[in-house]
C-alpha cells in the first residue's frame, strides 16, 4: 500500500469540500448576524430621524407642551424638567458612586469589597419599574404627591451602580507604582487618593458619570409613577412633578392621533441624539483615560 498523497489531502474535494462549504455557510450566517444587528440600529435611528426631523423646529424646542389632548405645542418644559431631574440625580449618584468605588478599591478588604460589588451588580439588575415603586412608597406616599425630586432619587438609584462599577474598573487601572511612590514618601492614604488616584483616573470617572446620565435621561418608568401629573408651563421646582422628554414620548406614542405621533418622533430624535452623542463622548474619554494609564 502506498502512502496517501499529501498533496491530494489538501485539495478542495470530497470530504474537505463538504467541510469547507459548511464553514463558508456558517461564516456567512455569522456575518449576516452582525449585519442584522447593525441594520436594526440603523433602521431604528433612521426611522426616528426621518420621521422626527420634519417636526423639529425652534418653535418645538422652545414652546411648552400644549393643553392635554391638543397638539401644536413643543417640549421646552420637558427639556427643562428632564435637565433638572437628571442633574439632581447626578449630584446624588456621582459622588456616592465614586465614593463606593474608592471604598472597594482603596480601603476595603477583598472580603468586604466583593460583596459590595455583588450588591451593585444586583442593583444594576433591578428593573427600573421596581425602583420606581420603591421610591413611590418611600417618598410619594408620605408626601402625598408626586415630585420631580422623587423621580430624581429613583434616577440616582438607577445611575449609582453604573457610576460605581465604571469607577471601580478605572480606579483599579491606576498604576500601583504611583500609589506606592506616594506611600513611600509618607503621604497619607486620603491625600494620595485625592491628589493622585482620582486625578489619574479622572477621564474614566467622567465616563462612568456620562454613561450614567445617558442611561437615565431616557428612563420612563420612574417618570410614569413619580412625576407624571404635571402642571402647565415650564417648571423648575423639583418639589412638584416635572415634565420629562421620555414621558412626553410615552404619552404621545399611546395617543391615537397622527399629529401626536409626529411630535413623539421629534422628541425621540432630540433624546436619541443626546444619548448617542453622550455615549460617544464617554467612550472617547474612556479610551483616552486607559491610554493615559497605560492599560
Amino acid at each position: 500500500m502506498s502512502p496517501p498523497d499529501a498533496h491530494a489531502l489538501l485539495l478542495d474535494r470530497g470530504n474537505l469540500k463538504r467541510r469547507n462549504r459548511l464553514n463558508r455557510g456558517v461564516e456567512a450566517l455569522c456575518t449576516v448576524g452582525a449585519v442584522l444587528a447593525v441594520a436594526v440600529l440603523a433602521i431604528v435611528v433612521g426611522s426616528v430621524f426621518l420621521k422626527g426631523v420634519g417636526a423639529l423646529s425652534w418653535h418645538f424646542l422652545s414652546t411648552p407642551t400644549a393643553l392635554f389632548g391638543e397638539s401644536g405645542g413643543g417640549i421646552s418644559n420637558a427639556i427643562v424638567g428632564s435637565a433638572v431631574m437628571v442633574a439632581l440625580a447626578a449630584v446624588m449618584a456621582v459622588p456616592i458612586g465614586i465614593l463606593v468605588a474608592i471604598y472597594t478599591t482603596e480601603f476595603a478588604s477583598p472580603r468586604i469589597a466583593h460583596p459590595v460589588r455583588f450588591v451593585l451588580d444586583i442593583l444594576n439588575g433591578v428593573p427600573t419599574i421596581i425602583t420606581a415603586i420603591f421610591i413611590y412608597g418611600l417618598i410619594v406616599v408620605p408626601q402625598g404627591r408626586q415630585s420631580g425630586f422623587a423621580a430624581s432619587v429613583a434616577l440616582a438609584i438607577v445611575m449609582l451602580p453604573i457610576v460605581a462599577r465604571t469607577a471601580q474598573e478605572v480606579l483599579s487601572l491606576v498604576p500601583g507604582n504611583l500609589k506606592e511612590a506616594a506611600h513611600a514618601l509618607g503621604i497619607a492614604r486620603w491625600r494620595s487618593t485625592v491628589r493622585i488616584t482620582i486625578p489619574t483616573a479622572a477621564g474614566g470617572l467622567l465616563t462612568g458619570s456620562l454613561l450614567g446620565v445617558a442611561r437615565v435621561v431616557g428612563e420612563t418608568a420612574p417618570m410614569l409613577i413619580l412625576s407624571s401629573i404635571v402642571a402647565q408651563g415650564v417648571l423648575t421646582d423639583p418639589g412638584q412633578p416635572l415634565a420629562s422628554i421620555p414621558y412626553f414620548i410615552f404619552q404621545a406614542s399611546e395617543s391615537p392621533k397622527p399629529e401626536a405621533h409626529t411630535e413623539a418622533w421629534a422628541a425621540a430624535l432630540v433624546l436619541i441624539a443626546f444619548v448617542l452623542v453622550l455615549n460617544i463622548v464617554a467612550r472617547a474619554f474612556y479610551a483616552r483615560s486607559r491610554k493615559r494609564m497605560g492599560a
Binding site: 451593585l120 442593583l123 491625600r191 421620555p246
Partner: protein
C-alpha cells in the same frame, strides 16, 4: 504600607492634623457610601413587600395561579397568572432569538471581522443597548407593529397556523411584537458578555485545532464554544434578566390584555408592563396587587442576576461587567 504602621518614630513623626482627620474621614465617608448601596437593596425589598402586603394577606400564594385581573369594585379579584405567562413567553422567545444571534455576532467579531472594523462594529452593537426603551416602544408601535401585522404574522399563520400559538388573527400589538422588541434589547447585553468570553479562549488551543486541519467553523465548534459554554449560559441568563424587567417598551406594544391567550399574535401582558400601565391610575387592593406583581418580578430579577454571575464567574471570567465600556478593549 501606610506610614502609620511603621515602628520607627522618625518616619511616623508629626502626621499633621489634617491627615489625622482626613484618613478616617475618607474611609468613613466611602464606607458609608457603600453602606448606602447595600441599604438601597434592602430598602427596595422592604418597601415592595410593604406596599404589596394587603394583596399578599388577601390572596396568598394562590395569587400566582389565579388567571384573572378584575378591578371592578364589586369583584376586586387579582391574580398574577396572565402576567407570569406573558413574561415567560415573551422573554423565552426573545432569548430564543437573541442567544444564537449574539453567538453569531460574537464569532464574527472575534474570528471573522477584519481587525480594523471589529471595534466600530462592536461599538455599534453596544449602541443598540443605549437606545432609550421608550423610543424602541414608539418604533414598535408605529413601525414594527404594522410590519408584524401585515407581513410576518400572516406568513407564520399561513404556514404554521395549525399550531395554536400561530393561530388567531394577526395584530400589531401582542406577545410576538413584544418578544421582537425584547430580542433587540437583549442582544447587545448577551453579545457584550459572549464576545468577552470568546476573547479569553487561549490562542494556542485555537492554533492547535487549526494545525489538526480544522476549518474555522470546526475550530469554533470544537474549541471556542465548549470553552465558553458557561459564559454563554451566564450571558443568556443576564439577557433574560433584561427581558423580564422591561416595563415601558413592552407596555407600549403588548396591548394590555388581562387574560392568558394561546395565540402569540394576541394582546397580553407581562408583570413589568402591567405595573407600568396601571400603577399610577389605581388604588387600594389593585395597587397592592400591582406591587405584589412587582415583588414577584423583583424575586425573578435577583435570582436571575445572582445565578448568571455565579455561572459566568465559575466559567473562568473573574468579573463580568455589563457597563458598555468593553468595546474599548478590542
Amino acid at each position: 504600607v501606610e506610614a502609620g504602621t511603621l515602628k520607627n518614630p522618625v518616619l511616623r513623626a508629626r502626621p499633621n492634623r489634617i491627615d489625622r482627620i482626613g484618613d478616617p474621614l475618607l474611609r468613613g465617608l466611602s464606607g458609608l457610601a457603600a453602606a448606602v448601596a447595600v441599604a438601597v437593596i434592602a430598602g427596595i425589598a422592604y418597601e415592595v413587600i410593604h406596599l404589596a402586603w394587603p394583596a399578599i394577606t388577601k390572596f396568598g400564594v394562590g395569587f400566582l395561579t389565579t388567571n384573572d385581573w378584575n378591578p371592578n369594585p364589586l369583584v376586586q379579584r387579582f391574580g398574577a397568572a396572565p402576567f407570569l405567562y406573558g413574561t415567560v413567553v415573551t422573554s423565552f422567545i426573545a432569548i430564543l432569538f437573541a442567544t444564537p444571534l449574539s453567538i453569531a455576532i460574537s464569532i464574527y467579531l472575534t474570528e471573522l471581522a477584519p481587525k480594523r472594523i471589529r471595534r466600530p462594529v462592536a461599538t455599534l452593537v453596544d449602541m443598540l443597548a443605549a437606545i432609550p426603551t421608550v423610543i424602541l416602544g414608539l418604533w414598535g408601535i408605529l413601525v414594527l407593529g404594522p410590519f408584524m401585522r401585515d407581513t410576518i404574522e400572516p406568513a407564520l399563520n399561513s404556514t404554521l397556523g395549525f399550531i395554536p400559538i400561530f393561530g388567531g388573527d394577526p395584530s400589531a400589538f401582542g406577545y410576538l411584537t413584544a418578544a421582537v422588541i425584547l430580542t433587540i434589547m437583549a442582544t447587545p447585553i448577551i453579545t457584550s458578555v459572549t464576545r468577552e468570553v470568546f476573547e479569553t479562549v487561549p490562542g494556542d488551543l485555537k492554533e492547535a485545532s487549526y494545525a489538526l486541519g480544522a476549518t474555522r467553523w470546526e475550530m469554533v465548534r470544537q474549541v471556542v464554544l465548549p470553552y465558553s459554554r458557561s459564559g454563554i449560559v451566564g450571558a443568556t441568563i443576564l439577557g433574560l434578566g433584561r427581558a423580564i424587567g422591561e416595563a415601558i417598551a413592552v407596555a407600549q406594544v403588548i396591548g394590555g390584555a388581562n387574560l392568558i391567550n394561546a395565540s402569540l399574535f394576541h394582546t397580553g401582558g407581562t408583570l413589568a408592563a402591567q405595573i407600568a400601565s396601571q400603577y399610577q391610575n389605581s388604588a387600594g387592593l389593585q395597587k397592592a396587587s400591582l406591587a405584589y406583581l412587582g415583588l414577584i418580578l423583583l424575586v425573578f430579577a435577583v435570582i436571575v442576576n445572582v445565578v448568571a454571575r455565579i455561572i459566568v464567574q465559575r466559567g473562568g471570567l473573574k468579573d463580568v461587567d455589563v457597563t458598555p465600556t468593553e468595546a474599548e478593549a478590542l
